[in-house]
Amino acid sequence: MSAFDRRTFLKTTAGAAAGAILPLAAPPLIRSARAAGTVKLGCLFSSSGTMANLEGRLNFVAGMAAEEINAAGGVNGSTIEVVTSDPASDWPLYAQVGRQMLAETKVAALFGCWTSVSRKSVLPVVEQNDGLLFYPLHFEGDENSKNVVYVNSPPASSVLPAVDYLMSPDGVEAKRFFMLGSDYVWPRKINKQLKGYWKTKGIDESAWKEEYVPFSFSNFQTLVNQIRAFADAPGGKLVVVLTVVGSSIPDFMREFANQGISSSDVPVLGLDMVEADLEGLDTQKLVGHLNCWAYLQQAKGEANQQFLKRWAGYVGKTKAPFRPDVAIDPMVSTYDAVHLWAMAAKKAGSFDAPEVRKAFGGLSFDCPSGYKIGMTAENNYVSRGVFIGSVNESQGFDVLWQSEDTPKPVPMSQYG
C-alpha cells in the first residue's frame, strides 16, 4: 500500500520535475510503429537532481556511440535509436523508468545508473524481465547478476591497487587512514573491504577512522578538524579515503584546502572524484590529491585523442550543456558499453538479451584508455586498466601511475 502511494507520488514528481520522460508516456502503439528497422537502447541517467551534472553527460555519450555505430552500418541491419529518460536522481524512480523502458518501450538493453543505490533498485527489474543493464561506474563488487554487465572495475582492480600504491615506498608509505563517505551502500562496502584488506596486512584497527555524512552534505568544517587532529596524532602518514559523492566532493575539498592542509601533509584519495567535481574550485591548493579510475583524460594513445575529438564535435553539434574539453571515466565506460553491446549483438545475430549475453565471452574492444578491454564467458565483468590520477593546476588529473595491463576482475571480494 505504502509502496504504491510512494510510486504515484514519484510519478507526479518526475512529471513535474522534467518533461524529459514524456515521450515514454506516448502510447506504445505509436512507438512500435516507428520502431521498424531500428533497435532501441535505453538510458537511465538523471538530468535533474544532485546527479544531473555527472550523469547527464552520459546520455550524450551513449548517443555519440550509437551515431558512430549507425554510421558504420548499424547492427544486424538495424540502426540504433537511443531513448533517454530522467529518473531525477531519485533512486526508486530508476527502477520504475527501467521497467517502463523494458516492458513498454521494448529497449534491447539498458545503460544506466551512477550510484550503487540506483543500480540496486534497478537490479530486480532487469532480473524479472531478463533484460540487460550496462553499468558504467566502478563500484563495490560483491554482485554477480547475469543481467548486469559491469563495465567498470570492482574494488580488487581499482581501489585496492590505488591503496597499495599509497602504502608502498613509491607512494607515501601510508600507515593510517581516514575513511569519509556518503552514507549508502557503496562507501560502506568499500570501506568494509578496505578494513578487511588492511587487517590481512597486519594493520591495527586504531590506525583508521570511519565517518559518514548524509547525501549532499556540505558543512565539512568539523570533519576536517577531526582529520587534522587525527593527522597530527602519532603513528605515521595519514591518507584520506574519500567516498563522498556529488556536490559533497567540491565542498569537502574547498574546506580541506582552506584549513591549510596540502597533499604533502595529508593526501586525499577521492574514489568518486572526477574532473567535473573540480569545476569551480581553485585547484592550485589541491595539487597532488588523487583519484583512481579505469580511464583518465590524460591517457596516452591515438584512441583517446580520437574519442576526445569526437566528444568535442558531438557537444558542438548537439549543443549539450557540458564542457567539450572534459572527458571522465564513466563517459568512456558508457561509450565502451554501447560498443560492447553492439559487438555482442552482431556476434549473436540477435537483439534478444539471452542471445546477446551468450556472445559476451571473448569480446574485446580498443578502449580510449589505451587498454584492450575484454570479457570472458565466466561472468559479465569487463577487464579494465587501472589509473591513479593526481590533481593538477588546471582542474584536471595527471596520470601518476597506471597498471601494466588489464587485471582480471574479481567479482566477489575476499576481504569481507
Binding site: A17, Y212, S218, T222, L223, P234, D251, R254
Partner: protein, 534 residues
C-alpha cells in the same frame, strides 16, 4: 607571478657570478629527469649539499626545485631545460638558448614534499628579500626535523633582518630535539611547546619513551611541563574550534532563514521557493563577477562587495514578481501556496538548468575569502567562514534596523501582529505583503551571495537549505528575528557538538528529535508574537 619576479632576479644574479663547483648541477638535473626514484635522489642530493653550498648554488637549487614544482622543468632527449616566457634555459647552467623540448616530469606524492622542502631551505639561505625568506621559514617550520641542523645555523648567520634571524634561530633550536647535547634538547622542548598544537604534543609525548626521561630529572620535568602546557592550550583551541564552527554554521542557517522568518511570519505563506531565491542570489553574484571581469578587471577581487546591492535588488524583484503573480491570489488557501511555491521552485531550478547548465559555477576566490590563519594551537580561522559570519551579523543589524526603525518595518510589524486592525488604521496590507515578500526574498539572495565562497553553486543548491531554514524559523518562533537568531545559534552549536561524537548522520537526526521534543513543550517556538494569528 611572485615567483616570476624572483626568477628574473635570480637569473641576473646567477649570470653575473661564476658557477661554483661544490654541487654537480648537471648530474642533479639529469637525475631529476630519471623518474620518481631519480627525483628522490636529486632532492636528497640537493638537501645534503645545502649546508656547505655557495650562495650561487643555493640560488640555483631554489630555481631548479621551483621549476620542478611549478612544472616548468622540461625533460626531453637532450639536457633538461627550464621553460620560461622569454625562452628556454639550460637547467644546469641556466644559460638561455637551450632547445625547449620534452615534457615536465610529474612530482609523485612522495617527491612533492621533498622538493617543497628543498625549495624552502634554499630560499631561506639565498632568497633575495626578507619576505621571501620569511615565507620559506614558515614552510620549513613543520619539517625542521628532516633538515640538517647546520642549515639553520648558516641561515641565521647570514640573515640580515634581526627579527627573522631570531625566528631562524628558534626553528633551528626546535630541530635539535634529538641532539646529544642535553642543554640543546631542553631548549628544543621549550621551543616546540611554544607552538602548542597536536603535532607538538605528539613530538614531545614521544620523548617519554626516551631513556633520558627515566635518567635525567631535569629532562623529565621539562617534558612533563611541556606536555601539560600544550594540553592546556589544546583544550582552549578545541573549545575555540567548536565555538567557531558552531558560529559559522549558525551564520549560514541564519542567512538562509532570515528571509523566510519575515515571509512566513508576516503572511503565514510557506514559501518552498526560498531555497531557489538563495540560488538566484548566488547566480546573480556570478553574473556580477563576470560583468566586472569584462568591465573592470582590476577590481574583480571586490565583486562580492559590489554584488551586494545588485543581488538584493534582483532577488527582491523576483520575489515581488512571484508574490504579485501567484502568492497574492492564494492568500486564502495556504496549502495551495505551498504547492504553488514548490512549483515555482521546480520551475526556477529547471530554467537555470536549461539556460546555464548543471555544472558548478566557477567563482574567483580573492585572498580575503581563501585560506585561513592559525590563531592558537589547532584553531584556524578560515576567511570564507569569517566572511559569512560578518556578513550575517551585518545583515542581522540591517534587518533589525529596517524592521524597527523604518516606516516599512513599522507597517510590517503592524500587519504581522494584527492584520485586520492594521488595515482599519489605513495601512495598505496588500502592499506591505508585497514589500515584505520582496524584502524576504532579497535577504535570501544575500544568503546565496554569502554562501558562494563556502559551498558549490549549482541549480540544486537551494534544496539543501529549505528543511534547515524551516526548522530554524519554526523553532525560533514564527515572525521574530530574535527567535531566528537564537534558534540558528542553538541549532548550529548543538550540531557541531554532536557531530564529532555520533557522526554527521546521527547529528542531523538528534537535532531534529530535539526540536520535535521542544515543540511538543512549546508549540509556538522560542519567542511567540502575541496576537499574530486568530
Amino acid at each position: 607571478m611572485r615567483w616570476r619576479g624572483v626568477l628574473a632576479g635570480l637569473i641576473a644574479v646567477v649570470a653575473a657570478c661564476s658557477p661554483a663547483a661544490a654541487l654537480d648541477r648537471a648530474s642533479v638535473a639529469a637525475r631529476a629527469c630519471g623518474g620518481a626514484s631519480g627525483m628522490t635522489d636529486a632532492a636528497n642530493a640537493m638537501v645534503a649539499s645545502l649546508p656547505d653550498a655557495s650562495v650561487e648554488d643555493a640560488r640555483w637549487v631554489a630555481t631548479f626545485s621551483n621549476a620542478a614544482i611549478e612544472r616548468t622543468l622540461r625533460c626531453g632527449a637532450g639536457a633538461p631545460t627550464i621553460a620560461a616566457p622569454e625562452g628556454a634555459r639550460d637547467a644546469a647552467s641556466l644559460r638561455p638558448g637551450a632547445p625547449a623540448d620534452g615534457s615536465p616530469p610529474l612530482l609523485s606524492l612522495k617527491n612533492r614534499p621533498l622538493f617543497e622542502t628543498v625549495r624552502a631551505a634554499a630560499t631561506l639561505l639565498a632568497g633575495p628579500t626578507a619576505a621571501e625568506r620569511a615565507g620559506a621559514l614558515t614552510a620549513l617550520e613543520r619539517r625542521a626535523g628532516s633538515l640538517p641542523p647546520e642549515l639553520f645555523e648558516r641561515a641565521a648567520e647570514a640573515e640580515t633582518d634581526p627579527a627573522l634571524k631570531e625566528r631562524v634561530l628558534g626553528v633551528g633550536q626546535a630541530a635539535l630535539l634529538n641532539s646529544p647535547d642535553m642543554a640543546k634538547r631542553l631548549a628544543a622542548i621549550q621551543r616546540i611547546a611554544a607552538t602548542p598544537d597536536r603535532r607538538a604534543l605528539t613530538q614531545i609525548a614521544a620523548l617519554k619513551g626516551d631513556p633520558a626521561y627515566g635518567e635525567d630529572p631535569a629532562f623529565r620535568a621539562a617534558v612533563d611541563a611541556a606536555v601539560g602546557s600544550i594540553e592546556r592550550w589544546l583544550a582552549v583551541s578545541n573549545a575555540l574550534n567548536v565555538f567557531y564552527n558552531g558560529l559559522s554554521f549558525a551564520s549560514i542557517l541564519f542567512m538562509a532563514s532570515a528571509g523566510l522568518a519575515i515571509i512566513f511570519g508576516l503572511m503565514g505563506v510557506i514559501n518552498l521557493a526560498q531555497g531557489e531565491f538563495i540560488m538566484i542570489g548566488a547566480y546573480v553574484a556570478y553574473a556580477v563577477q563576470e560583468a566586472m571581469r569584462a568591465a573592470a578587471p582590476g577590481l574583480l577581487d571586490w565583486y562580492l562587495i559590489a554584488a551586494i546591492p545588485v543581488v538584493f535588488l534582483v532577488t527582491a524583484g523576483v520575489g515581488i514578481a512571484v508574490e504579485a503573480t501567484i502568492v497574492r491570489r492564494l492568500y486564502t488557501r495556504p496549502l495551495m501556496t505551498l504547492l504553488a511555491t514548490w512549483a515555482v521552485s521546480l520551475l526556477i531550478v529547471n530554467l537555470v538548468r536549461v539556460a546555464i547548465g548543471t555544472q558548478n559555477l566557477q567563482f574567483v576566490t580573492p585572498s580575503y575569502i581563501s585560506g585561513g590563519r592559525l590563531v592558537t594551537g589547532d584553531f584556524i580561522v578560515t576567511w570564507n567562514r569569517l566572511f559569512a559570519i560578518v556578513f550575517a551579523a551585518v545583515t542581522l543589524a540591517l534587518t533589525w534596523f529596517v524592521l524597527k526603525k523604518t516606516p516599512l518595518g513599522l507597517n510590517i510589524r503592524a500587519v504581522t501582529q494584527n492584520r485586520a486592525m492594521a488595515g482599519c488604521v489605513g495601512i495598505a496590507t496588500r502592499r506591505v505583503d508585497m514589500m515584505a515578500f520582496g524584502f524576504g526574498s532579497g535577504l535570501a539572495g544575500l544568503a546565496g551571495l554569502a554562501l558562494c565562497p563556502i559551498y558549490s553553486v549549482n541549480p540544486q543548491m537551494g534544496s539543501n537549505f529549505i528543511v534547515d531554514s524551516f526548522m530554524v524559523v519554526v523553532l525560533g518562533g514564527v515572525g521574530t528575528l530574535a527567535g531566528t537568531v537564537i534558534a540558528a545559534l542553538g541549532v548550529g552549536q548543538i550540531n557541531v557538538l554532536i557531530e564529532p561524537l555520533y557522526g554527521a548522520v546521527a547529528a542531523k537526526v538528534i537535532v531534529l528529535l530535539m526540536i520535535i521534543a521542544f515543540l511538543q513543550w512549546r508549540p509556538e517556538g522560542l519567542y511567540a508574537v502575541k496576537g499574530r494569528r486568530k
